[in-house]
């Protein structure tokens, strides 16, 4: 038995609930069956690509030791690659203090308006799109479970906006963190939305493609749920904010819908 070569260059980066690993594949001279990926010595998956995403991790950061074994066409196994220590990120919903939120960060969208499958009523329930005031509005009545995009015929094939209003007693002392969790999104057209805070364009939020199931199913947490949740968290500079009324807007001007889990701003403690 000849051992195939081990891969080199294993490295990774942490995200919310995931760790993304990449490496340099062995040359084509080795006919690869697959790469077996290990975390702390346990097999977590097999892939034919020099790339693997470790999913289903917790919301609190944990450092794990990853390694990869090359399995060739004959079933021979390489030595373990050099290990890479990578931590998933701790969510700001764990590390921060909520300032203003809509929905609960729990993998479900069932507390939101029109959930689980009322999307066809969106044009009549939200003819001027979502305009939500934290502290006054209620999720079940005022925050649609989906944010449609221009690719959605059922929502008029046009751009849509979600406006989230909240008060601050003062300009925050540190930057705030935005958490936008999705239970699912369209499988190929999740695309992006333009994020604006108090009239200032902050940038585009790029959404991960999901499974196109969250328009009819609200729960991503039960075993076998077909939904593909994703998590966006990013800092918002403190200078964007002002005392009194603030407004955050998501403008979906490309692609299709996203399905919310929850949205919120968190202060650093």
């Amino acid at each position: 038995m000849r051992r195939p070569p081990a891969i080199t260059g294993l490295h990774g980066s942490g995200g919310i609930r995931i760790v993304t690993l990449d490496w340099k594949p062995v040359s084509w001279a080795t006919v690869v069956d697959h790469y077996a990926v290990y975390a702390d010595g346990a097999l977590i998956g097999k892939t034919v690509y020099p790339h693997f995403v470790h999913r289903g991790l917790g919301f609190t950061g944990v450092t794990r030791s990853y390694s990869v074994v090359t399995v060739d066409a004959a079933g021979n196994r390489s030595a373990e690659s050099a290990a890479a220590a990578v931590a998933n990120l701790t969510s700001v919903t764990i590390s921060g203090t909520p300032v203003a939120t809509v929905g609960t960060f729990d993998g479900k969208g069932s507390e939101l308006a029109l959930s689980p499958k009322g999307y066809a009523q969106y044009p009549t329930r939200f003819p001027a799109d979502v305009d939500y005031t934290y502290g006054t509005s209620t999720p079940a009545a005022d925050w649609s479970y989906l944010l449609p995009g221009p690719a959605d015929k059922w929502a008029g094939s046009k751009n849509h906006r979600a406006t989230f209003r909240f008060d601050l007693p003062a300009v925050p002392e540190q930057d705030l963190d935005l958490a936008l969790w999705l239970i699912d999104s369209h499988a190929s057209l999740a695309a992006s939305a333009l994020l604006t805070v108090n009239g200032v364009e902050v940038g585009r939020l790029a959404f991960a493609n999901g499974a196109t199931k969250g328009s009819t199913i609200a729960d991503s947490t039960y075993p076998g749920s077909p939904l593909k949740p994703s998590y966006l968290e990013q800092p918002l500079p403190r200078t964007l904010f002002r005392p009194g009324a603030n407004v955050l807007e998501l403008f979906k001007d490309v692609g299709s819908w996203i399905a919310y889990d929850a949205l919120g701003l968190f202060a650093r403690s």
Partner: protein, 502 residues
């Protein structure tokens, strides 16, 4: 380390052919070092790539075909496999005996290349490993002249959608050759209550996910190849095999996946998918993949009766068009420049009465939005039709659409040949005679048949005419026993190509 191609050049074919399951050293022991578990030939036998003096034989040892590591229950050692070729099914007149080494690198597949036989005649073959004998296969060499040639065409055998009555009937008719036009396997997860429509079967959870690794592709071939009617069709005639998308992934093209896998990653998937295809098909060594590439477009001469051109319309295709100007661009190609030049050379130099061109997707113009087939590459289609127009009458064989379609191939006002699109063997289950897509096809006066049931096509080619039967089945999901129905018959004169209903 030298590439495999360099390795072949350095060591010569004979050494390489040992490691690649084609032959064995003269001194090799024909007895396995240890016994092989019973049922080693559970995936059957096959032949393909016929020539006037020989063909490629195939088998893959797999006593436990559905072992989840893709190795079929074989020990991870080299195993000698004997084969013999005879003029009679009783093996009284054996004309060739040989030995090939089945190795774990190729999932214990062997591809012996038999040469030096007589043209245009029937042969029988079988394998032996230890004390186990394989089923007997029948095959044929190609003729050097060719008065008549019979062939079946089939495609799209989603095992989980139904039984393979089409293969059973092909085996009964024992044509001179079988053209299989792609979607030999499907990559999708197979899930009861969802897409598992073949009544009375169950599959384990290892079959319930989209395949990606070599062990998963190997296992998928094993699952489909356990079907006895598919094995019977392989064992009855040499196969000309063409691939389409599902041998890798739905609607892929070149290095482009439609499912968000970037090209620099997707080539690794293509490499294992092509590898598993080679391992499971009676293909000559020319088609052994080199990394993520595999040359499977190739040519045969059926005497001076017909020249056969097998196309690859997947590996070299341009991406889906970004807009109408892109779609109709003269530069667009579904074949790639090299293969286009090869086809036009082959058509130009052919002296045969007929040209059989076999590909994965439909050539005939249908609608501008069918960009996955040649409707997405109209400039390439026109170049092909022009080349066909300068050669003997063309017969285009395609599948992919799970429908029987018969079409006259038109270049401006002239008919340069016919296209015979075979329905699926399994994909889409029972089917119905017509459906909502029918109007897209039947709006064209050159399209003479449309039917949405499962089946195959049988053709008889002579030096003056082609007679074609479209065969379908009333059902396929409940069991394998549906009786064939001859849906339509057409006659195509070589001197005046058209589809004349019989």
């Amino acid at each position: 380390m030298p590439s495999r191609r360099t390795f072949l050049q350095l060591t010569g074919l004979s050494a390489a052919s040992v490691t690649l399951g084609i032959s064995a050293p003269a001194t090799a022991d024909a007895t396995p070092a240890r016994p092989i578990p019973d049922g080693a030939f559970a995936l059957g036998v096959a032949s393909g790539d016929p020539r006037p003096d020989g063909f490629v034989l195939w088998t893959r040892l797999a006593p436990t075909p559905l072992a989840t590591d893709g190795h079929g229950g074989m020990p991870a050692v080299d195993v000698p496999v004997q084969y013999e070729v005879a003029e009679d099914s009783g093996f009284r007149h054996v004309v060739r005996r040989g030995l090939a080494i089945a190795s774990p690198e190729l999932a214990h597949a062997v591809h012996p290349q038999v040469a030096g036989l007589r043209p245009g005649r029937e042969y029988f073959y079988r394998f032996r490993v230890g004390t186990q004998l394989s089923p007997v296969g029948r095959t044929k060499t190609l003729p050097t002249y060719g008065d008549q040639f019979t062939f079946a065409t089939a495609s799209c055998q989603a095992w989980y959608h139904g039984y393979f009555a089409a293969h059973r009937d092909i085996a009964r008719r024992a044509p001179d050759a079988v053209f299989f036009l792609g979607d030999y396997i499907y990559e999708y997860g197979i899930v009861a209550g969802d897409n598992l429509w073949r009544a009375g079967v169950a599959v384990g959870p290892e079959h319930g996910v989209e395949i990606e690794t070599l062990e998963q592709y190997r296992l998928r071939y094993s699952l489909f190849k356990t079907d006895p009617d598919l094995q019977a069709a392989h064992a009855v005639a040499p196969w000309f095999m063409v691939w389409d998308d599902h041998e890798v992934q739905n609607n892929y093209g070149a290095a482009n996946s439609l499912y968000g896998v970037p090209p620099e990653l997707f080539v690794h998937r293509r490499a294992v998918a092509y590898r598993a295809y080679y391992e499971n098909a009676p293909l000559a060594l020319d088609s052994l993949p080199q990394g993520p590439d595999s040359r499977v477009y190739r040519r045969y001469d059926i005497g001076s009766l017909a020249r056969v051109h097998l196309l690859d319309t997947r590996q070299y295709r341009d991406p889906l068009p970004v807009d109408e100007a892109d779609r109709v661009s003269e530069q667009r190609t579904i074949m790639g420049a090299e293969q286009e030049a090869w086809l036009y050379d082959g058509l130009r130099s052919s002296r045969a009465s007929w040209n059989i061109v076999a590909g994965g997707v439909v050539l005939t113009a249908v609608t501008d939005d069918r960009t996955e087939q040649w409707d997405g590459y109209p400039a390439n289609r026109r170049r092909v039709l022009e080349a066909m127009g300068g050669a003997g009458t063309s017969v285009m064989l395609t599948g992919d659409i799970h429908r029987h379609v018969a079409s006259e191939l038109q270049l401006d006002e002239r008919t340069v040949g016919v296209e015979l699109v075979c329905s699926s063997v399994g994909s889409n289950g029972d089917g119905t005679d017509t459906d909502t897509y029918a109007k897209d096809w039947l709006q064209h006066p050159n399209i003479k048949l449309y039917n949405a049931r499962r089946g195959y096509v049988h053709s008889t080619m002579t030096r003056t005419e082609l007679t074609t039967e479209f065969v379908n089945f009333p059902y396929i999901q409940a069991d394998a026993n549906a009786q064939p129905n001859i849906l339509a018959r057409f006659r195509t004169p070589v001197a005046d190509p058209r589809l004349e209903a019989l």
